[in-house]
């Protein structure tokens, strides 16, 4: 009987065990999928831009569409000035999108032949969001210097209220990486568990006689519908992550609100 444990898919297995100074640095299936995503995106962009034609080929128009999409997203949230962050936002968006999409494959040419969703681990999404925050704070302080702290002191508030407002603003700022990472992680985790639970209903009912076999078509339809929804969520969450990155980067560019 097929494995119906909905959590098993998130297990991390070392592929290339490695240990440096007692720290486990194994190359795991998670690392493998990240590497595949990076190589895949690089190949796509490289192949799409080798033959730069005025009338784009299919690959080139995909690359152009992605470029336009991300550039438009940055322009609409952070203005033209925000385009200096284009390489970062584009990389982030493409990485999350590819990793999410790779996670939608049940079988994958990886050790063990099963798929894995890198973004279903909160440490990965948290590292990504901390990277965003590090850039926001680093660039904000470098560009605006002391004025970056204006982010925590909104204008037009009576003086005594700053005792309350400033801590609230600080907490709100500190909660950004958490909410950014939790959102992506929770979406991917919940979606994949849901898919697996409904898929295991098919197996359980299918092995329970004729009536169960007929009844198993219901969760089958559900799984098909959920798979479509999951593709939407995989794209949408990459988009949301990127657009919130743009919004936060806008704060680094213009801290005065």
């Amino acid at each position: 009987m097929a494995d119906t444990n909905p959590i098993r898919q998130f297990e991390i297995h070392p592929i290339l065990p490695m240990e440096v100074n007692g720290i486990d640095l194994s190359f795991t299936n998670s690392s493998y999928f990240m590497a595949v995503a990076v190589v895949g995106v690089t190949l796509l962009m490289w192949l799409a831009t080798t033959k730069r034609a005025l009338v784009p080929s299919r690959g080139q128009s995909v690359a152009e569409m992605l470029y336009e999409f991300v550039a438009g997203m940055i322009r609409s949230t952070a203005g033209t000035e925000g385009l200096r962050f284009f390489p970062f936002v584009f990389t982030l968006f493409m990485f999350i999108l590819t990793v999410n999409m790779l996670g939608m494959m049940h079988y994958f040419p990886a050790p063990g032949m099963h798929g894995f969703t890198v973004t279903s681990h909160i440490i990965v999404t948290f590292a990504l969001s901390m990277l965003v925050m590090a850039i926001v704070v680093g660039y904000g302080v470098w560009k605006n210097g002391f004025k970056f702290l204006k982010l925590f002191v909104p204008s037009g508030v009576p003086l005594p209220l700053y005792i309350i407002v400033t801590p609230i603003e600080v907490i709100s700022f500190l909660s950004r990486p958490l909410s950014l990472s939790v959102r992506l992680f929770a979406n991917m985790l919940a979606g994949h568990i849901l898919l697996k639970v409904f898929a295991s209903f098919i197996v359980m009912m299918g092995t329970a006689g004729v009536l169960g076999f007929l009844g198993a078509t219901l969760p089958l339809f559900m799984v098909v519908a959920l798979t479509a929804l999951e593709f939407l969520v995989a794209f949408l969450q990459a988009y949301v992550f990127a657009i919130l990155t743009c919004i936060y980067l806008n704060d680094a560019l213009h801290p005065g609100h």
Binding site: E169, I171, R176
Partner: protein, 111 residues
């Protein structure tokens, strides 16, 4: 109506600009239609955004309060004040998220 079409067809330049105009109108109409039909922010994602924003505010507030308790030994007060401030910060996050989402919806309707 048909008279106008005839006059436009007679001059090739007019015809081209007319074509451009009609094409742009079509593209615009199609874009508006698509935006209306496909509110790419599904309810699920908006709900999760509010939820995670609020949750993160409360968590960071409470966590910060606990850390202050540990460091300074103000045992219950750091947590209490941190939780309250975190709650406020979470609400602020939700208000900001709602403003963002509403703003993007408005520009979509306007353009």
């Amino acid at each position: 109506m048909s008279d106008q079409d005839e006059s436009n067809h007679s001059d090739p330049r007019d015809k081209a600009s007319d074509f451009e105009r009609r094409l742009n109108a079509k593209i615009e109409a199609r874009r508006v239609e698509e935006e209306r039909r496909n509110p790419s922010r599904s309810g699920w994602s908006i709900g999760l955004r509010y939820g995670s924003d609020f949750f993160a505010g409360v968590l960071v507030g409470a966590g910060g309060g606990l850390v202050i308790d540990r460091l300074l030994g103000w045992t219950p007060w750091g947590l209490i004040v941190g939780l309250i401030l975190g709650f406020a910060a979470g609400t602020l996050n939700v208000v900001r998220a709602a403003r963002d989402i509403n703003a993007s919806g408005d520009t979509g309707a306007k353009n």
